[in-house]
Every structure is written in structure tokens, then in C-alpha cells.
């Protein structure tokens, strides 16, 4: 069940959802809350000679060593090159708090784009919209321009929206030692 803006506000007041800082314009959408773009963008370096196997090991190290940053506050607005992937983050830190109130359902969320940017061909995420119950942190955005128009990105613009949903059942907070194993004997 998707939460209305008033139910999202109630979840914040109940301590089940932390949004920090809390946007001033809380009720701009009826069933979501807008989140803003933080000032640092990460620009992955193009390296056609390298092929990545995510399971091969050390992926995070490779990604962080082969990228640069653009600070929207000190370096000014950034125009997405057409067809290239840039990473951003929400200004707001989100926490879908586990066990805040045992009588109420846990929350999960999805990050979605906004129609204004979508019509200009700007993607703000792809393939990874789910914010799992218990998640704490800023939301990483996968930004890409598909459209012909140049759209400068500025710090603090409402770049995406958070859809908040109730989770049926109680999520298992700490996985057991058997999680991820495929054999009944524990291998």
C-alpha cells in the first residue's frame, strides 16, 4: 500500500521514517515526497579497454578509483552529456527505521523520477529503485540524459520522488548464517 503525503508525515512523526533534512514543501505530491539533488556528482571515467565483471572482486575499489567529481556549488551547474551515466545523491538522508513501533508495519520505498525531467529525457534511476526496509543513508541516483535538450543540473533541485510503502510481514533484520547458501547442508 502506497502511503499518502499525510501518512508519510505521520510515519515521520512516529519515528518509522527519518528524512533529514525534512523538505520544507512536504505536501507537494499527494502520494510521495520530493527529494533534492545533493551538490556532488560523480562522473565515471570512460575506459573502453576495461571490461567489468561485478562478481570478480574489488568492484567498489575500481569504481571509486576511476571516477571524478563535480561540485555543483563550487563549480556551477552541470549539463548531462547525452547518453552518458552520471551518479548523484539525494540531499536528504533517508532511514526506514526497523522496530520503531512493533505495532505498525515496516516501511520500504522506491525512488522514482519526476515528470518534468522525464519529459526532457532525463532518467534519475534505472534498475535499482528499491529502498529496502531498514535502509539508512542518502539515495544514489543513476542520472542519464536521453533527450535532445540540455538540462543543467543544480544543487538542491527537486530531482526525484520517494514513494513509501508498507511491508507486509516482519522483515528478518539480521540474516542467519545460512543466508546465501544453496545447499541444504549449508554449502
Amino acid at each position: 500500500m502506497i502511503l499518502s503525503n499525510t501518512a508519510i508525515r505521520q510515519a515521520v512523526e512516529d519515528g518509522r521514517l527519518i528524512i533529514d533534512p525534512l523538505p520544507a514543501n512536504f505536501y507537494s505530491n499527494t502520494s510521495s515526497i520530493d527529494l533534492r539533488l545533493d551538490n556532488v556528482l560523480v562522473i565515471p571515467e570512460e575506459n573502453p579497454s576495461v571490461s567489468i565483471k561485478p562478481g570478480a572482486g574489488g568492484l567498489a575499489q575500481y569504481l571509486s578509483k576511476n571516477s571524478s567529481t563535480h561540485d555543483l556549488k563550487t563549480q556551477g551547474p552541470f549539463t548531462l552529456p547525452k547518453g552518458e551515466l552520471i551518479l548523484g545523491q539525494t540531499l536528504e538522508r533517508i532511514h526506514l527505521v526497523s522496530h520503531a513501533d512493533p505495532t505498525k508495519p515496516h516501511l520500504a520505498a522506491r525512488v522514482e523520477g519526476k515528470s518534468s525531467y522525464a519529459r526532457c529525457g532525463i532518467l534519475v534511476h534505472f534498475t535499482a529503485p528499491t529502498i529496502h526496509a531498514g535502509f539508512p543513508g542518502k539515495i544514489t541516483l543513476e542520472l542519464m540524459r536521453l533527450g535532445p535538450l540540455e538540462v543543467p543540473l543544480e544543487a538542491g533541485i527537486p530531482i526525484c520522488q520517494l514513494i513509501v510503502e508498507e511491508v507486509q510481514g516482519i522483515p528478518k533484520d539480521a540474516p542467519s548464517q545460512f543466508d546465501g547458501q544453496s545447499h541444504p547442508a549449508g554449502r
Partner: protein
């Protein structure tokens, strides 16, 4: 029980995150972690101990590594320090 697991900590892609690498295993496990989960001065990541037996400790990492589908790993007990 919350503990600290030895690992390699270096800067992340964003200013408020770190790159974490759990070495000594194949593949090397890696992920990005917010600053409150790491102890960069001692190269350690926060984790939860599940079980300790025969010099091996099973821990739950706070974030799932890119290289495997589970947050649960087994490490030498000497690599883990109680928080």
C-alpha cells in the same frame, strides 16, 4: 553482538562514503559504506557476530557486497574485534 571487522578502507565515490574491501578471500568483497559504519583509522567495518567456532567467526556485514548475494561471511576470529 556488534563488532569491528578488519578490512581495507579508502575514499568512496561520494565525499560522505568509504570504499570497503574484505581481502584474503576470492573474490575480494567490496562495497561502499557511509562514514558511521567504518572506523577508517583502524581499517575496520562494523558488523554483527552470528557465531564463533574453531577460530572462525560468522559475521553479518552492514551492506551486501557487490560480489555475492549475502551479507553473511566467515572470517578468521582474529580479524574481528568486539565493539
Amino acid at each position: 553482538m556488534t563488532a569491528w571487522l578488519k578490512c581495507d578502507i579508502s575514499k568512496g565515490m561520494f565525499p560522505d562514503e568509504f570504499t570497503v574491501q574484505i581481502k584474503g578471500r576470492t573474490p575480494i568483497l567490496s562495497f561502499f559504506a557511509p562514514s558511521e559504519l567504518v572506523r577508517p583509522t583502524k581499517d575496520a567495518i562494523r558488523c554483527e557476530i552470528v557465531q564463533t567456532e574453531n577460530g572462525t567467526t560468522t559475521v553479518v556485514l552492514p551492506i551486501r557486497p557487490y560480489e555475492q548475494a549475502s551479507r553473511v561471511i566467515q572470517v578468521p576470529t582474529t580479524e574481528v574485534e568486539s565493539a
